[in-house]
Each structure stands twice: as structure tokens, then as C-alpha cells.
Amino acid sequence: MNLAGPLAGVRIIEMGQLIAIPWAMKMLADMGAQVIRLESCQRLESYRGDALYKNETEGEFWNRGANFYEHNRNKLGITLDLTNAAGMEILKELVSVSDVFAENFTPRAIRNFHLEYEDLRRVKPDIVMVSSTGYGFTGPWANFGATGPATEGASGLVYMTGYADGPPVLPEIPYTDYTAAEQTVFAVMTALMHRLRTGQGQFVDISQTQAASATVPEALLDFAANGRTEPRIGNGDSGMAPHGCYPCLGDDRWITIAVNNDEQWRAFCGVIDQPSWSEDRRFKDSLNRWRHRVELDELIGQVTSGWDAHKLMQELQAAGVAAGAVLDSKDLLFNPHLLERGFFEVVAHHPSTGIPPLPYVGRPWKMSLTPPVPAKAGPIMGEHNQLVLSELLGRSAADLASLEEAGVIGYAPTNPRPVSRPSLDEQVRQGRMQRYETDFREQVARVFPPPNDT
């Protein structure tokens, strides 16, 4: 076992925000890269000010944001005012001792800061620079700011998605930020493999829209080759029937089922005790089931609504039919399969935050020889100013004091403004939350004891 991770020795300077770059750099940090995340006290990262622990907005709320911790595990954090020449000098020094510089600002901002690849190359000739932008670093839309929904919309994915009788529908997370972030991990590794072999750095220009379009080739090629655009089909499939999401016992409980062939169809009819369906001419083979899929979905829904979703899933799977209960967030966290695989990792927080050790999502891969590094929470603001500036760059204590005095580094936002969310009762009343539980801390701690408490 190599406990330093496969990427030990790789140093990355991250000027990221929100998801697209931070998620990708978190994955690299988990696997042993040293990631130094830059933040600004003058322009607070939005994820520090929202989704706060226990919804409490007072005190040092910026060290209690769920979305920040979710995307910044295992990183070192420093604050730096890049509008100040001394701050910029520190950034350039950091780049000069690093392997990768990664950012997701607009090209306009990067040009204004003189942080383009050509600028960095003068400081570190073999640097790999990674820019992740909504539409790409070049081209007529280069400077258009973008959100996840915007890139999902531009990519073609939103247009294809939605119920059969309605408008396009988007998921309630910035989905394509993650699509792009996943491809960014691959892009960084591709550039690092090349650099390992040749010693050469380069500029990697990630368009979040292009990354997303690369995952909808069926639709794009159907138009390119056949001039056709298929209508939205909800949870349907172009060949399988039944294929959908059906109601189960309980409040807002559902199961997904996908039947791929006649053998699975007969097994399905057996499990739900509808032997007559497998004899029914309308449903006798794949093609007929697909033609009569609307009637079929209706009939199935009537039967599944008498079943517990997990029990039906287990019975269908035992009979060889693909089926999955629709897991809500609590189901997912306490899912026995993910628990056995150790997918969620318990992370201890800085004592000043008052946040107990909590489980966070891990990674979709397990490596037999090089496990991830022991998980550490994302940094509180300025947590590693001293470590990075003194130990890595050799700045003196007096230097640090004068940098702090001048506001180049700091430990708190200069203009703190938390997002205040409505009370949980109000959120449930508005329908934004399904429900809430007051003993969640005990429930979580029971299943996920603190790391040194086992």
C-alpha cells in the first residue's frame, strides 16, 4: 500500500470557485496531489456563505458552509488579494514551484490579472494551466459568464430532457458543472502524463458546454446524419418497455424498472403476480410492449403502488430484472450497499467551526494499491496562510504581519453577507423540502462514528 496516494509530489495552485474547478481539484487532492486553494477576503466565495450548518448565520458563518466543504476536501487554503501587487507576486512565486495552475474565471478576468498561459510560462516554463469556462477560452462567446443550467442548455441536453407532454426540465443541481469537472480530472491527468514523459507543460482549455455535448452524441449525430430530432420521452427508452418510474407505498416513494427482453418480462410478471400479462397479446414481445407502453405503464403503476419500493427492488433483482428504488438523500446516506463499500467518508472539521465530524461523498473509484489520503476537511479561511507562505515560500513572520496589515492576506471576509434561508418549517410548507428530522445528528453519528471513535 502506498499511503501518500498516486499523485504524491504533484502541486496544484487552484484559483477556483463554486464547482467546476473545485470538485476536480478535490478529486486530485484526495489522491495525493497537494492542492493550494486561493481565496479572496474581498470577494467571498459564494459557497462559504450559503447552506450553513444548522442554518445559523451569526459568527464566522463563512467557515460553516456545506457546499464549500463538499468541494474542497484535502486542500490547503490561503487568502490572497490579487488586486494588490504583493498578492500577485506571491501567486507568481507559488506558480514557480508548482506543476498545475487551475482556474474557472472568465477569460476577461484572467486577462485583466495577466494570468494567461503565456504569462505563467514565463514564471514556470513547464506549468500546466487549466482553464474551465462556460463556453471555452476562445470564440465569440468566450467572455459570457455561465451557470450550470446555461451550459446544460447550450449543450443540447436540456432540449432532449423532460416529460413526454411538456417543456424541457432541468435537474435541481448544476449538473453540467459536474460533467465538466469530471472531464477536467481526466484533462489534468492527460496533461500530467504528457509532462511526465516529455517535460512539457501546456494550456488546457475546457469548455463546460463542449464537455456536456460530448455526452449527448445520440442526439447530435441523429441530427447530423439523419436530420432528425427525437421528441422528449420522459423516463422512456428508445427500445425497452416497460422502462420507467412507478409509484410505491408511502409518501413520495418510487421505483424504477427497466425490462430488456422477453425473459425478463416473464420474470417481472411473476414477481408482481400478474401471470396474465405475459400472455396478453399487447405485451407479448418487446415491440408490442413498446407500442403499448403508455397503457403498460398505467397498469404497472396500479400494481407497484401496493409495494414497498425496496422490497420490490430486491425481489425483481433476485429474478434478474433491473430495478432500483428512488433514493432520497437520507436513503442514499444510509444505503447498506454504499455503507459496505465505505463510499461516504467521515471528515473532522476545524474545532473553531463547531461542526462535528460528518460523512461526505467519496469517489467513484477504488484503487487496490494507492488508496486516497486520510480525509481532511476543506480549510477554514486563511487556515494555511502561515504554512504556505512561511514553509513553502520562506516568508518571515514580519512579512506575514505586514501582508496582513496591508490586507493582502486575511482570515475573514471584508464584507460578510450570509444567505439566510427560511426556517425548515417554512421550507417544508413551501414544498422545498420533503420533511426534516430533529434527531439527525444522533442518527448520523450512530452510523458514521467519528474517525478515532471506533
Binding site: A51, T147, I173, P217, A225, R228, H243, K330, P359
Partner: protein, 399 residues
């Protein structure tokens, strides 16, 4: 030809369907030498729609053609002893083996990682599966919709009062494949430094679950369980229908304080009213606000509105159909769509590089292999089988 980033990486590709081939396509398009091994009847993705000109043919599935660019292709029946012998010969000088069979298949063929490592001590093997190589759901079956359900995204996706929804097409498979490609390169990076091989277990369920914002954390931080959101018609960032499609408005964080800017941009004096001027007033009058916004957007052209918004640095998004994506000037300026000529279809425009590398270009893209296209070269020239032997192997169904 200019150097490619993954030059010198040799991959044996035992994958089929979508997740595995997407993983090895990423590697191949950026320069890895990928040899795709198909069963003699071919990758089942050769039978997946859409087909070129709707001609159902093993070389005309557009999805298959896309997923297998830049790879060479051979056929081999791993259910035969001879097929496995030839597979082991091929394995000896590769860096990476990628497979996405059900978890117990490789072991049942005596091709488990431990025995393969004896043949090739620095082998990296990546196994992609629906739920991973361990755990109670290991042998569960899945389709994309099941991964959406079990990965946590589906429950919060769709209309408040309807069944949960998934994305169109095969997003879960693509996520799993991308993550597998990343993990493969991490393991190869370690291999290049130390000479050590290892086994990488990639789960598509975990690929879905690892990319969720404020879902599990909403519970661990506050005890609340998110659900599909009610349809707040007054939500300023809700998707709206325009005269010619759909747009994703986003007046930016500033709109909370500067309602006037939004009113002026939308050119609706009626909105300049205290019923709408603060967030709480807008919530109280959401239905009325929604009605006015719906009517307003219906009169607009989405492209004009998109560009006008960006002039003001409002980060609006535009919903593009596949036809519009193909005609998009931004994609064109970046050379995104590339012509690839395949013997069965002629030239077709394919989506190209997801990202651009300044020193090591993507492409030029080579078409997906015909079934068994490189048998002669690989078995004959590389492994040294004679033509007679190869005809015999063919007649007994090994290749």
C-alpha cells in the same frame, strides 16, 4: 504527425455498450493506442439506435461509431480456451486493461486481476460496473434509469407533483466512463513512477452520487430532506418559453438589490411596482409576477435576448436543439464538430474534443473499426499465427 498527450500508452479494451467504450475513447482520442476486443458477434452497441439513415447494420450505429473512434478492432471469443490463450498473449505488453463485464465474469473466465498480474506485473486493470466489484448490490442489474434512482439525483429531478425524472439518453454511463478514464490515468501515473500495477474498481452508482450538490449535506447539516421543487412561477431563474424556444434567465445576484435593472432589461414598466420590488414582495405576488414574466418572454426571441443579456453581463443561458448546437457559432469557432469518414457511412459530423490542449492536439479522429478489422495484423503479424491457423480459428468461432 504532432505528438499526442497519451502517446506510448498501450490499452487492451475489453469493453462494450457505453461506459467502457467512452472511457477508452477518451484515452484513444488523446493519443493512447487502444486495441478493442469484441466478441465474434460484435459489441452489442453495434445494435443500438440511432442508425445512419435508419439502416440497421452492425457498422451503422451512430452511437457505436462515436464511442469507438481512434481504436483498432479485433474479435476474440473469450469463452474458448484458445481465445483466452490469445488474450493472455496480447496482455503481456500493455499498460492498461479496461473491462465492464458484470463483476463475476472475468473471474469465471480465469481472467481475474491476480492471475493477469502474474503475466504482466505492471498491469493496471480498470473494471467498470453498475454498483462496483463488492457489496450487496454487486450483482444487481441496472439501466441508466436505475443508476439515476440509486445515485440520488432522480428523487430531486422533475416536477413537484409528478414522478421523478431522469435526463434523456445515457448520462450515467458517460459519467462512469469519464471517472474510469481519470482513475485509469492516476493509476498509470503511479505505474510510470514505480512500475507497479493495480486494480481499479469504478462504480457507476458512485459516479452519480459523487456529483450532487447540497443533497446529502442538506441532511447532515440541517436534518432536511430535499425533494422536487414546487413550480414557483415567479422564480426569476425559471426556464421560460420564448417565441422560438426556451431561455434560462439569470439576472445575477445583483437583481436582489437592483430590481430596476431587471425591469429595464425586460422592458416591462408594469414590473416597476412595489408588489415586485423586493424578494419578499415577489414571493408574496409570485403568481402575478409569473403571469407577467410568461407573457413578456413569449414575445421575445431567445437569441436576441441571450446576446442582449450578456451585453449587460446577466448570465442568461440558451436552450439549444441538436440542430442549433450543430450550427452554433461558438462551437464552430472552436472547431468542435469534426468530419469523420467511415467506410460504411461516408463522412458524418461528430462531436469532437471536449477540451483543447495547446501542445498536444486531439485528433485527427480515425473512424471506429469494422468488426474484426485488425485481426490479420494483430493475430498474424503481431502474434505470428499463419493464415491457415487463422482460418481454422475463424471456423471454430475463436475469432
Amino acid at each position: 504527425m504532432p505528438a499526442k498527450a497519451l502517446d506510448g500508452v498501450k490499452v487492451l479494451d475489453l469493453t462494450h455498450h457505453i461506459a467502457g467504450p467512452w472511457c477508452t475513447k477518451l484515452l484513444a482520442d488523446y493519443g493512447a493506442d487502444v486495441l478493442k476486443v469484441e466478441r465474434p458477434e460484435g459489441d452489442p452497441a453495434r445494435g443500438m439506435p440511432p442508425f445512419y439513415h435508419d439502416e440497421i447494420d452492425q457498422d451503422k450505429s451512430l452511437l457505436f461509431l462515436y464511442l469507438n473512434t481512434c481504436k483498432r478492432g479485433i474479435t476474440l471469443n473469450l469463452k474458448t480456451l484458445q481465445g483466452r490463450r490469445m488474450f493472455r498473449e496480447l496482455l503481456q505488453d500493455v499498460d492498461l486493461l479496461v473491462e465492464n463485464f458484470s463483476p463475476r465474469v472475468m473471474a469465471s473466465l480465469d481472467l481475474d486481476f491476480e492471475s493477469l498480474l502474474e503475466l504482466n506485473p505492471s498491469l493496471v486493470m480498470v473494471s467498470i460496473s453498475n454498483f462496483g466489484q463488492t457489496g450487496p448490490y454487486r450483482d444487481y442489474r441496472a439501466a441508466d434509469i436505475v443508476e439515476y434512482a440509486m445515485g440520488g439525483l432522480m428523487y430531486i429531478f422533475g416536477n413537484y407533483d409528478r414522478e421523478p425524472l431522469k435526463h434523456a439518453l445515457h448520462q450515467a454511463q458517460f459519467k462512469g466512463g469519464t471517472d474510469a478514464a481519470s482513475a485509469a490515468l492516476m493509476a498509470l501515473y503511479h505505474q510510470r513512477l514505480t512500475g507497479q500495477g493495480q486494480h481499479v474498481d469504478v462504480s457507476i452508482q458512485e459516479a452519480m452520487a459523487s456529483g450532487l450538490r447540497d443533497v446529502v449535506d442538506n441532511y447532515t447539516y440541517t436534518g432536511a430532506i430535499r425533494r422536487r421543487q414546487p413550480n414557483h412561477s415567479g422564480d426569476l431563474t425559471r426556464l421560460r418559453a420564448t417565441s422560438d424556444g426556451y431561455i434560462l434567465p439569470n439576472p445575477g445576484i445583483g437583481a436582489r438589490d437592483n430590481w430596476q435593472a431587471t425591469v429595464e432589461f425586460l422592458e416591462v414598466p408594469e414590473l416597476d411596482d412595489e408588489r415586485f420590488s423586493s424578494p419578499s414582495a415577489r414571493l408574496a405576488n409570485a403568481e402575478e409576477l409569473g403571469r407577467i414574466l410568461d407573457e413578456t418572454f413569449q414575445t421575445k426571441n431567445k437569441s436576441n435576448m441571450f446576446f442582449a443579456a450578456h451585453d449587460k453581463r446577466f448570465i442568461y443561458g440558451i436552450v439549444q436543439s441538436p440542430e442549433e448546437v450543430l450550427a452554433d457559432p461558438q462551437f464552430a469557432a472552436r472547431g468542435y464538430f469534426v468530419d469523420i469518414e467511415h467506410p460504411a457511412t461516408g463522412t458524418v459530423k461528430y462531436p469532437g474534443p471536449p477540451f483543447l490542449m495547446s501542445g498536444t492536439p486531439w485528433g485527427p479522429a480515425k473512424p471506429a473499426p469494422l468488426l474484426g478489422q485488425d485481426n490479420q495484423e494483430v493475430f498474424g503479424e503481431r502474434l505470428g499465427y499463419t493464415n491457415d491457423e487463422m482460418s481454422r480459428l475463424r471456423s471454430i468461432g475463436v475469432i
